[in-house]
Symmetry: C2
Subunit: 337 residues, 2 copies
């Protein structure tokens, strides 16, 4: 992309989800006015960078690689980077942020601004064009609900991973389906269409083989990939699959409502307007049994002022916009505006 | 133990649970009459040998080590071994049995009889003194129900590991408690005594830290070790802890009832007598809130002829008795009785 781009300053936005990591390189834009469409100079994709699931060494390597490749794709030098914002699943605590800052500090000169957030924050920003206000619900392989008030208070619900009960996630839905198959098989639960459909989709001949299949590869994404089978069984009238999806809808709606209530995002009367950004494969699919629409209906019943947004840009771009927002705020705070 | 023991033939019984592996070395006794107490010549303990959780290399190494050490402890040579019976968690399918037979075949001369069973089968035998009749319920770190009819039909329920929903297991109980803590913390669920009690027991200061704690070490036993905290909260009147234990009781009783029904162990009228062997830390504890007694009551309500047995010998001895039983049957079948 030539010598011209060597001159201009850029920002990097990284979205590190449970399944893959995306990095975009964007020019340094004024936060007040964005061109439409947003200019993306370079983009790269890598594997999972959640250190909880792949370990710290792999996570660190993946982050360094995905940023280097986005810069290469954009044709700009590392020295052109003004700020980096990473939205990473697995960042749940200030100590997580410090750990990742430690990894990145050596990769960039000290004047480069580094912002580390949970990936939900980048997803929220992808719907609000970089503003931190409202609530985001992500339901992909994992699930989380995360919210911010305009004066900077924040809250989250779920997002603690499969062991700690993210039942509305893609993993949660698929795991419940696998459990239903085991229960039907050994006589603890009712028969379900899920048995033949899941076995067929995995190329297995008996539910007993599911045990080995499950442990052969513990990646959550592999199990979450069964969600379309569950949706299709529910659409074909299977009651167990239908119950699993209804439970997931309830879990996802509860996680949004918990955040909205704790932050009073809908005001004291519960009728105020606020954005709810919805992201992720579980919510996005255009099926007859539409999980995203059901979650929306449940939220609107409790909070009629909720304004549901399906982002037009990807979360990595949200992370980049967030970097611009943070830079702008620091500039204002330093009196340089 | 001297030169005398070098002469006599011995059998090895191995119990490979989710947390540890025990091997006993016993003399070759006639199956018809056992001395009381049973003579155990040697015993050894090693770590987990479930290849689903530790991988095949570690599992194989652990099994070879635990058997070598039991022989060493008994002071007998490997050439004195007449038969080996292994009851192993993780053995769920004929291909699993073949895999482990492959590991062991090279460790013993071809005339040595090798029997590979699920660890539940050895636990049943520990209550029935080597007979394969009735139903066993194991609830330790994991849970499984396994049954045999007198004419050799068998059935199992649960025992598919945490991903596939063993909710009555120690892991299942503790995981539900951790989930309840997360839900209370982020506003999705009611407050519970479990929050402060679990955090205190783990030396953590906030539920957010549970996420890192959970993923720092994925071993099921580490999570299952929280069961006493849940029991103690339930005894102190915490409703959430009480519900978790009641659900576990129901899950465990359902897994027994599913096996009993499929095998018609209680006869056509459901009133016949049959043994139910109960094993494992979750069922054995002598608490005010006694999970084992509650499960027993639930089973007796449905099957009044169930005869609950708490084994006096350990499952590894059950495995050894099983080897004697199998040897006796082969001798009878070969006309050498």
């Amino acid at each position: 992309m030539g010598s011209e781009s060597d001159e201009r300053e850029v920002i990097l936005g990284v979205d590190g989800g449970t399944t893959s990591t995306v990095c975009v390189c964007m020019p340094l834009l004024p936060f007040s006015e964005f061109p439409d469409p947003l200019p993306v100079l370079g983009r790269s994709v890598a594997g999972c960078s959640n250190f909880n699931s792949v370990g710290e060494d792999v996570a660190r390597e993946t982050l360094e690689k995905v940023m280097a490749e986005a810069l290469l794709d954009a044709g700009v030098k590392r020295s052109a980077v003004k700020a980096v914002c990473l939205g990473l699943s697995g960042v749940n605590h200030p100590t997580d942020q410090e750990k990742i800052l430690g990894w990145l500090r050596s990769a960039f000169p000290s004047h480069v601004k580094l912002y580390i957030q949970n990936d939900a924050v980048a997803a929220l920003a992808s719907g609000t064009m970089g503003k931190l206000h409202g609530c985001v619900l992500i339901a992909g392989t994992g699930s989380i609900s995360y919210g911010f008030t305009e004066d900077g208070r924040e809250a989250r619900a779920a997002g603690a991973g499969p062991v700690l009960g993210d039942w509305g996630s893609g993993y949660g839905i698929a795991a419940q389906a696998l459990i239903a198959v085991m229960r039907a098989h050994d006589g603890r639960g009712p028969q379900t269409m899920l048995s033949s459909c899941i076995l067929q989709s995995l190329g297995l001949s008996s539910p007993d083989e599911l045990i080995g299949w499950t442990y052969a590869d513990p990646s959550w994404a592999r199990i979450a990939a069964l969600v379309p089978v569950v949706v299709s069984c529910a659409e074909d009238g299977d009651q167990i699959a239908d119950e699993i999806l209804h439970n997931a809808v309830q879990e996802l709606a509860i996680s949004v409502k918990a955040v909205v209530q704790r932050l009073r995002l809908a005001g004291e009367d519960g009728k105020g307007s606020f954005p709810v950004v919805m992201v992720g494969g579980v919510l996005g699919a255009n099926n007859k049994w539409n999980i995203g629409n059901e979650v929306t209906n449940s939220i609107l019943k409790t909070y009629p002022g909720a304004c549901v947004i399906r982002p037009k840009v990807e979360p990595a771009v949200g992370a980049a916009l967030l970097a611009l927002n943070f830079l702008m705020k620091e500039t204002v705070a330093n009196g340089h505006s």
